[in-house]
Symmetry: C2
Subunit: 322 residues, 2 copies
């Protein structure tokens, strides 16, 4: 185990205990759904980042746990709502909440988790924390709305693609890092550096996700393979592939994709063509450049084991298989 | 026009302008849905209560508008999510957002409004405001979840019915009143009195709504008639009626209602029987007793034109036709 893995192994049980404890405090009609969400596990990336960022700045206050976990609660709430939107039946290898508990119930449990996250943070009496959290949620929802608006839009500009992934994924990871810095009493410069680190890490995270959607078999990812293509989501591998096609081919494929006329076999062939053409690899290369920017953002922080751990997080982010 | 009507006529345009301005600041992909929600109008009861309660306590700070409107934003967000749950196609005489813009998009616009409300309140830097708002939202969602859990439950205890309506409706109205008092710098006693006023008003409001669902024709309410019965919602008129039936009749009706075996004609006959039996009137009487409690809660406040206006709000609450 490297120091980051040791840190993760040590913090994870505390984070999970806190989340389970929150679930137990909720109303009996909400509890089973919330438990289902938490028991699905996950890396708890956002709380870990909040805690590490505060430690980098010398803060060892154990009272950071509600703040750190509020980021996970927000993330869980957006997953609950997302899975309904996507009609997803499987998440992390388990049935999604809305297929077990009903869509209407699940929408409301998402709302309850959003509210709980805000309440936990409000308890600190530090308005900046609430402000960053609400802003991140607003931007996350806006990013997801944009994503829906551009489903099957093969003319999507690459800049708009980045706007969407920044919205739907990076702002919440940014908030996790920024809130850790604010909690630790960072000055403006270091707060901005923390935010910049989180933003670049978040963009890279989603880029890798979008590459994995093309390359990772269902058995590893716990999600159906190539679900983005099936759902009509236009992500970077497809955009880069389309840009390299000659105009006639591009027009034909774009038209078929827009009209959802591609059979499962067509989609699987398309996926293979995109992967063998190196477009998933190119997406990972884009992620690598954001990870390099994230590493640069760490420079102003005082040298410490925790700063090294944040740097250690960047490599596996790129190499992950799910 | 009485003083309350004059006050309402004067504040309403400011509230609506603020809301429209917020809509314009949102991302272009969110804006049409948010405009649709705001243009549907409504009494803006919650912001009016926040402003009045602050005035009762001598606060004339015009900066209260973002706080007051954040309550309307939360309310709008819950309506967006509610209409999806209920499968409602009509609200305030207009098509509901999800039928025009799609359910998935509408869930996310609701989330964006929740986030915006929290952000507006966070700007004040008064943690108690954020705390009350998040707590109210958590309880509102929990109340709605309980309501779904008890659909077609003819064995619903009356105490649980009150718990549900307090959750889904009264806590947000309570928060509107409490936040007005907190904003005005009320001491603990007056803050509690404001909260008590709001809670009783909110319970009465929902009781009247539940009575109106039985008595108000669609042309007046802007909603389908007897939608609660059709949707399987067990509210006070039905509970009181069931309690008066002899055991055999009750068992038969309960069974048919549970299994959703009643035809539209059966439901219309049931509605008429409940109304002519006086059970909608009894529900209004229950509302009247909560309005009386709300009036009592006003006693500790200093005598002022605004306190009289709050008292003036109680009568029309009971007599309203939609």
């Amino acid at each position: 185990m490297n120091p980051l893995e040791r840190f993760h192994a040590q913090e994870l049980p505390r984070i999970n205990r806190f989340l389970e404890d929150q679930a137990e405090r909720m109303h009996v009609s909400v509890r089973p759904t919330v438990r289902h969400v938490f028991e699905a596990g996950g890396k708890r990336l956002r709380p870990i980042l909040t805690i590490l960022m505060a430690r980098v700045l010398g803060c060892r206050d154990r009272d950071i746990l509600p703040l750190a976990c509020s980021l996970e609660l927000l993330h869980s709430a957006t997953l609950l709502h997302d899975d309904i939107l996507d009609g997803a039946t499987i998440r992390r290898g388990r049935q999604t909440a809305h297929t077990l508990f009903g869509a209407t119930h699940t929408i409301l449990v998402g709302d309850a988790l959003l509210a709980l996250a805000n309440r936990l943070v409000a308890e600190y009496g530090v308005p900046a924390l609430t402000r960053h959290l609400s802003e991140a949620l607003l931007r996350t929802a806006t990013g997801e709305i944009q994503e829906i608006a551009h489903l099957r839009d093969t003319d999507l500009a690459i800049a708009t693609y980045y706007e969407i992934i920044t919205g739907k994924t990076a702002f919440l990871i940014q908030a996790a890092c920024r809130c850790g810095a604010v909690f630790a009493g960072a000055g403006d410069d270091l707060e901005e550096a923390a935010a910049d680190f989180g933003l670049c890490l978040g963009i890279a995270f989603q880029l890798v996700d979008d590459a994995l959607d093309y390359t990772s078999p269902s058995s590893v990812s716990g999600k159906p393979a190539a679900s983005d293509l099936k759902e009509g989501k236009v992500t970077l591998p497809l955009l880069l592939f389309l840009a390299d096609l000659d105009p006639g081919e591009r027009r034909r494929l774009a038209e078929d994709f827009k009209q959802d006329r591609l059979s499962p076999e067509d989609l699987e062939n398309l996926r293979e063509t995109i992967v063998s053409g190196g477009y998933a690899d190119k997406t990972r290369e884009a992620a690598a450049s954001y990870l390099a920017r994230a590493e640069t953002a760490l420079a102003p922080f005082p040298a410490s084991p925790e700063r090294d751990m944040l740097a250690l997080a960047l490599g596996p982010m790129l190499d992950r298989k799910k």
